[in-house]
């Protein structure tokens, strides 16, 4: 047992050594880079390079992987004090969900030319998914900045309890119907060239799905049905439930991206609903001018929330 362990360990170390980047720069070897905000790319050379070489933008050519002919001009290059890594700066913002290639020609170290090297720059899948989630939940909150689902939003935000119930039900249905609509769109509608039917098919899918959940929940878990059943029917008239599959279809999202967009939309809606219900419970006790009572004041409060959510714009973790 011990022997196999130590053999496995040695194998692992060997693999790690083999995978670790070698200190020298092999000609035409492919390295990786990372995005620095959305106007910069950071690349690591592995050896200290000459300042005069590294800071000349003409030594780099940058393009998006699908079209090598369209070069993106480099504005300037910032070299770190040790000369091991550099940040290329660009005038126009990059599309951080795309894949870029950086060609560095004739890398020079201590006066010697070491050869050229390519760097691939791409966000990892997890980063892309997290960005979508954060975007749908906070930055582009569907209620406060995209103004969808307002009817339900104003209808059920009078009490905290109903807001929480609706939030949970909606998030569940949203995630499941987003993934179902994705499958239907990619495997049926696109395969048969019936794209123009997507509105009818999506709303039909959602309606059937909600009806099915209603029937199943009634039999399987009557307690949960009693708590959440009322909200199920309302979900069909919520714009968000149709908007998310449409956005997924328009921007060619993959299965995980569709799922995460649905989850983000659901959570964002639940958050908005909960915040609003907290305020409206307090509002009941306030002396609001008679003509503003009810919906008008709710609209003004939502406007204030929308202003607050503007603060999330520009938020980015990666």
């Amino acid at each position: 047992m011990k022997k196999t362990c130590s053999t496995a360990l040695m194998l692992l170390i060997a693999a790690a050594l083999w995978l670790a980047p070698s200190p020298g720069i092999a000609a035409d070897a492919i390295g990786t880079g990372s995005f620095n905000k959305d106007t910069g790319i950071e690349i690591v050379f592995g050896v200290p390079v000459d300042k005069s070489w590294a800071q000349d933008p003409a030594n780099y050519s940058v393009y998006e992987k699908p079209d090598p002919d369209i070069r993106i001009p480099v504005k300037n290059v910032e070299l770190d004090p040790k000369g091991v890594s550099a940040i290329l700066r660009f005038d126009q913002p990059l599309n951080v969900s795309a894949e870029y290639v950086v060609d560095a020609r004739n890398i020079t170290s201590q006066g010697k030319v070491l050869g050229s090297r390519q760097f691939l720059v791409k966000k990892s899948q997890a980063q892309i998914l997290f960005t979508i989630l954060l975007g749908a939940m906070l930055i582009n909150n569907f209620v406060f900045t995209k103004y969808l689902g307002l009817c339900i939003f104003f209808g059920v935000s009078q009490k905290k309890e109903t807001a929480i119930g609706m939030g949970i039900t909606f998030t569940t249905v949203m995630v499941l119907s987003a993934i179902m609509c994705w499958a239907l769109y990619n495997y049926v509608l696109q395969a048969l060239h019936l794209d123009f039917l997507k509105v009818i098919v999506f709303i039909g899918t959602v309606a059937i799905f909600v009806q099915a959940v209603d029937t199943i929940l009634r039999k399987v878990n009557p307690y949960l049905f009693k708590k959440l059943g009322v909200y199920l029917v309302l979900i069909v008239t919520n714009c968000i439930i149709l908007a998310v599959p449409l956005i997924n279809a328009d921007s060619n999202h993959g299965p995980f991206e569709s799922l995460i967009l649905g989850l983000g939309a659901g959570l964002g809606f639940a958050l908005a609903l909960f915040l609003m219900s907290c305020v409206r419970e307090k509002l009941e006790l306030c002396r609001v001018p008679a003509t503003f009572r009810g919906l008008p004041i709710a609209f003004v409060v939502t406007g204030l929330f929308a202003l607050a959510f503007l603060g999330f714009s520009g938020l980015s973790i990666f």
Binding site: F144, T145, K146, Y147, L148, G149, L150, C151, I152, F154, G155, F196, L197, V199, I200, I203, G204, A207, V236, T237, N238, C239, I241, L242, A243, L246, I247, P289, A290, T291, F292, R293, G294, L295, P296, I297, A298, F299, V300, T302, G303, L304, A306, L307, F309, L310
Partner: protein, 206 residues
Amino acid sequence: MNRNLRLVWNGFIPENPIFRLALSLCPAVAVTTCVKNGLLLGLAVLFVQVFSSCTVTTFKSFIHPRIRIPAYVVVIALWVTVIDMILPVISPDVYKQVALFVKLIVVFAIIISRLELFASKEPFVPSFFDGLGMGIGFTFGLCLTGAIREFFGAGQLFGYDILGFKPLLIMILPAGGFFVIGFIMATFNWLEYKFTGKIPTSGGGH
């Protein structure tokens, strides 16, 4: 006043879909950053409302009451698909800004509620005029909101510079839409209070 005219007037002011019934609020806030967008979406809704009212009232004896909601949704989705193909041809650049909302007309509560409350019970001619009135009322609501937001937010009307400066930038930000609708609703309530002497309870919010 003859009944058909009264139906149109009813949708225009006394039961205005946006400010009095408070139905279909999403587009009222979302596309009204300028008058043009509001006008285009309003006309699209007018088209869908009139045609689906006429379709439902024609075929109402064939629709079983238990499956009426899915049947209405399919009828609306059909007309939405039609207008979604017509609009990009008529006005491509304005369509680009309201494309998502044209597809979302399917779930606008105003249309399905008119089908349920009116077109499924009344004969053809009144249903047509009811749909027309609601559509005009909706277009009016969108245009009014759009005009206020564009004028104060960008100092323009229909894309033409009027003021030359931007008095209240907040009006074209997301928050401004909510404020404007809130204040217009309050004004409608106040007007009703002046004329009838009682404070109305504003719409169900649905």
